[in-house]
Symmetry: C2
Subunit: 600 residues, 2 copies
């Protein structure tokens, strides 16, 4: 099997040459960090990925968790030491302040560590990732007492965290959820309901699972206003600090296409009327608060998708470098030796697709994380929060959806072998298919960008975003060799402005349904341009480096960026023209198609 | 699980209203057939699919074949009665002449039966499908004696047929194969070598497996001229008609992403120097002859992909009709009931994608089969053969590649449930991933159309193809309501002519490598137009029917065609514009990208 699942070298390029993450240490919060500490942390993350995670990538897929007697049994041998390391190494709360045990690490660096974990073994990585998200909700909205009770054990990896949203009949339409919370005069609520698809929702590797659960107040209002957020531990903590039964039952787990190493549990709360939950934050604000965590998880899903693309890409690259097959089209003599696959233009095209999607998305993830770090230190916090919000649907969706095609290309490069279990690519292809679904489907993301983000604060977020892209264009103009891409991005931005204005102008005359019907296509259109923006940034950094004293090996590395950028602009960004044609069309066929017309 | 995997009604529409397949009975060869016999045959095919195949769709996936003591054990309970039915019902040689036990059935009808089989259970269907292909090679190129020896048992389903091409080190580059055939003075050859990825290459449900194998003559020329075709039975037939050991060993089977019900065998020939093969056809013509079968199998792969898209589509449609979730964007009141998924425009968009890809590809398959039927009766045989050859790479590739996205959309409609094994869509998604690989990868198909088919016979095939498309446009002009699509197809044809002329003009100035570098994109471009051609045909037939005395139910059916055609033209055909931009570009980035630039 392939040995490499990510490039450490490439991460250094991103953080030092493209984004200058170390410059964050101008803020007191990050002052203890610099290139050196980043290097140490990321080296350690790579070591963990390589030694504790990747060796179990296939094993955990072929030995998935199983449910027996109400308990989920997972791949203990690998997960127990890993969770210990996650806790002891401070990987769950690394970005948090020193006073609660954090390291005040830029989120950007933590996300890159998570990228490495995800590429090595995503099914394993989700355990700490979800705990971090759940703990964050308590950290942000919980009472002092709640924080003291849960956070230390969650940060140490001893207790698992989850987000419990989906119900058997409620997926995307969260406002309709039916799990009930009934107030008592004891300061807690009695919880009753069912939740499904809960990642790491039950397992035999932790002492307790802390569910951050949304439920409807008994006799409260319908819809979103009736929903509040609760912390519902699998075992509640008694006065002596001991664990007590809390009537949270696991009724089974799902058998899935991919992402098999992680148990996705069906949970029943309060079957015996003995399940207690504690309100987190304000009554009726459950969904808004949950969306804090949801946003974090959407970023994680995007980065997780990038990491799977990376794993598949490096496997395909290694195979293409080693496997010999055929000759160049201009060489027909069968007496000449066969060439490596990587010598064929069509194989390079498929590698470039993967590399372009992966690195462009990775840059977008870093860009977004940098904005978040600036929010943390209150540097134009409102603006950076708007930029974060604006980019999230693109970062969640682009690598998730394009990841299907990127990992498919990795299979294709392997030929028939790619379809077989001896190589890792078919697993990455299966694993990544969850990403367009969980934490808000692609459809939901489309509605988010077109229905909300574009017009958020009277279009201010959109304008801030355009300013950011234009800054990159201005910077790139120092390198005349990038003229073709600069022009293409300028014209893409103009098209984006014009098309968006057109859509918003039409909005007044049509139903909301018609306005939003092609939201997914609009999201795709926007994402192509966002990735092109990042590629111009990467190309600019590479062009700068090529002007300096780079070694031959480094030159090849930087040329790789230039060529991959050229690929992206010529093969991917061009797709916006077809999308714009459709998005400008007034034929509302998907709205007008009557459901009975599907009958045959 | 879903109950419907294909639409019988839709097949009737295609064969009676769109293609008038029964008109073939103007030729003596087909004179015994008419709408009634077609109906009977297709009803029977649906019954077999429903009762003997679909019930094992999931079971065969979860209980894949296993290899033990040199033998492959398959899902006997289902496959044995199915093969018996295939033989007794004459499904393997239905299109063959009466004198060898065939039914002189139009291939078009046989292919539609195969479509039903593939949708119900592709892993099961490949057994007779491959036997039919292998038998065809013997039928076309074998000696009288050979035919008498093998065909009856193959047609009866008692013996399995295979095509044995791929070797561990030779996939797409068949000219480099290393399996050796050494002549003897006994009329046979001694075979020695290894073949892999042999579908149905070994199993415990047949008495014998007849391999149609390509090998290199010992001390013969290198490359393609050295390759000949041999029939190599697993057990050779002795003078008394008994079966004797022929030194064909199965060393194992592959564990695969999908298509799991069918064993893909690793085979060793002549390990004990006791494997005999018999030359089929002419020495040195092996690859050319094998391509006869390969063409047939490429059509079968295309149709097989369509059938998997159909299975996933009907599962998604059923789910979308039953599952309630959310409300329309213009209805925010949480007190109103939730609506069925199918009421949401974005869900309809995903259903339309599947329906458009499926029915457009199905029409292309029927179109091609009709040409083949005309070749059989010698009606402008040369022209119809050229049209067949021209369309094959598109029919092989378009549903295979778009099938990834179509089955992915079927998963997406199911939300989280789509990712789980309780629903069939994740399996269709896995099963279809083999189709862009086997029987010539997408890369090979791209080189075929751009490198060969476009300029075949001085461009005559291309011109014939354009004429066919223009005939459809002329016919459509009787229906002014199709004006938008007519104009779009006219302009697409013009773009196709212009772009192709541009590429051929550039060809003289650049290397063959540069000329072929984007062949896969060109194939995609061409395929979009081919499917648009078929959609105009379908829309024309529907427009005609809507002018008549259709019932309300029929009207809905025909409206479904009109709307799906509108979808295809607006959402899919528009992609040609982006493809044309890239295909016209002179930036040969995939050629110029040095392999070391990928290092990081």
């Amino acid at each position: 099997m392939a040995e490499k699942f990510a490039s450490r070298r490439n991460i250094d390029f991103m953080i030092n040459e493209v984004f200058d993450v170390a410059s964050l240490n101008r803020f007191p919060y990050f002052e203890d960090h610099d290139e050196e500490t980043f290097k140490m942390i990321l080296d350690t993350a790579l070591k963990i990925s390589t030694e504790m995670m990747f060796p179990y990538f296939k094993e955990m897929d072929t030995n998935p968790p199983y449910w027996e007697d109400g308990k989920v049994h997972v791949y203990k041998k690998a997960i127990v030491p890993f969770l210990k390391e996650m806790g002891e190494g401070g990987w769950i709360n690394a970005e948090k302040p020193y006073d609660i045990g954090g390291q005040q690490l830029p989120l950007t660096i933590k996300e890159l560590a998570y990228f490495l974990f995800g590429a090595a073994n995503y099914s394993m990585h989700v355990y700490p990732m979800l705990t971090a998200g759940a703990a964050n909700l308590i950290y942000q909205f919980g009472s002092r007492e709640m924080k003291d009770m849960y956070l230390p054990k969650m940060y140490s990896g001893e207790w698992q965290g989850t987000m419990a949203l989906t119900e058997p009949d409620v997926g995307s339409s969260l406002g309709d959820l039916t799990t009930i919370a009934e107030p008592t005069d004891q300061g807690y609520y009695m919880i009753k309901g069912q939740k499904i698809f809960i990642s790491a929702g039950n397992s035999d590797v932790v002492d307790n699972v802390i569910h951050l659960l949304i439920a409807r107040l008994k006799d409260g209002p319908l819809g979103v206003p009736g929903i509040s957020l609760f912390v519902v531990p699998e075992y509640r903590i008694n006065e002596n600090g001991g664990l007590e039964y809390n009537d949270v039952q696991c009724g089974g787990i799902e058998h899935k296409l991919g992402y098999k190493g992680s148990p996705i549990a069906q949970l029943t709360f309060g079957e015996e009327k003995n399940c207690r939950g504690w309100l987190v934050g304000d009554l009726g604000k459950g969904l808004a608060q949950m969306f804090k965590m949801m946003n974090e998880e959407r970023i994680n899903v995007g980065i997780g998708a990038v990491s799977k693309i990376a794993g598949a890409y490096y496997a395909a690259l290694e195979y293409a470098q080693q496997r010999k097959q055929g000759r160049k089209p201009d060489q027909k003599d069968p007496a000449t030796p066969m060439v490596e696959l990587i010598e064929h233009a069509d194989i390079k095209r498929m590698l470039l697709l993967q590399k372009a999607v992966m690195e462009g998305s990775m840059a977008l993830a870093i860009q977004l994380s940098m904005y978040q770090d600036l929010v943390t230190v209150d540097e134009n916090a409102e603006e950076h929060e708007m930029l974060t919000d604006f980019i999230i649907p693109m970062l969640k969706t682009y690598p998730s959806e394009m990841g299907i095609l990127a990992t498919s290309a990795a299979i294709q490069i392997h030929g028939g072998y790619g379809f077989c279990g001896d190589f890792p690519v078919e697993q990455y292809y299966r694993d990544i298919r969850i990403d367009p679904i969980h934490e808000g489907t692609t459809g939901i993301q489309g509605q988010d960008i077109l229905g909300r983000k574009i017009s958020m604060k009277n279009g201010k977020a959109f304008q801030l975003y355009i300013n950011e892209v234009e800054k990159t264009i201005a910077e790139a103009k120092n390198y005349p060799e990038l003229e073709k891409q600069i022009k293409a991005l300028e014209s893409a931005v103009q098209l984006m402005k014009d098309l968006t204005a057109l859509l918003l102008a039409k909005k007044a005359q049509i139903t909301n349904e018609a306005f939003l019907a092609d939201a997914v296509l609009y999201l795709d259109f926007m994402s192509q341009i966002a990735i092109a923006w990042q590629w111009l940034k990467l190309m600019t950094a590479a062009a700068k480096a090529l002007k300096g004293q780079a070694s031959d090996q480094d030159k090849a590395f930087y040329q790789g960026k230039i060529y991959t950028g050229r690929y992206f602009y010529d093969y991917e960004l061009t797709k916006i023209h077809s999308l714009a044609i459709r998005l400008s069309s007034d034929d509302k066929v998907t709205v007008e198609m009557a459901s009975e017309y599907f009958e045959d």
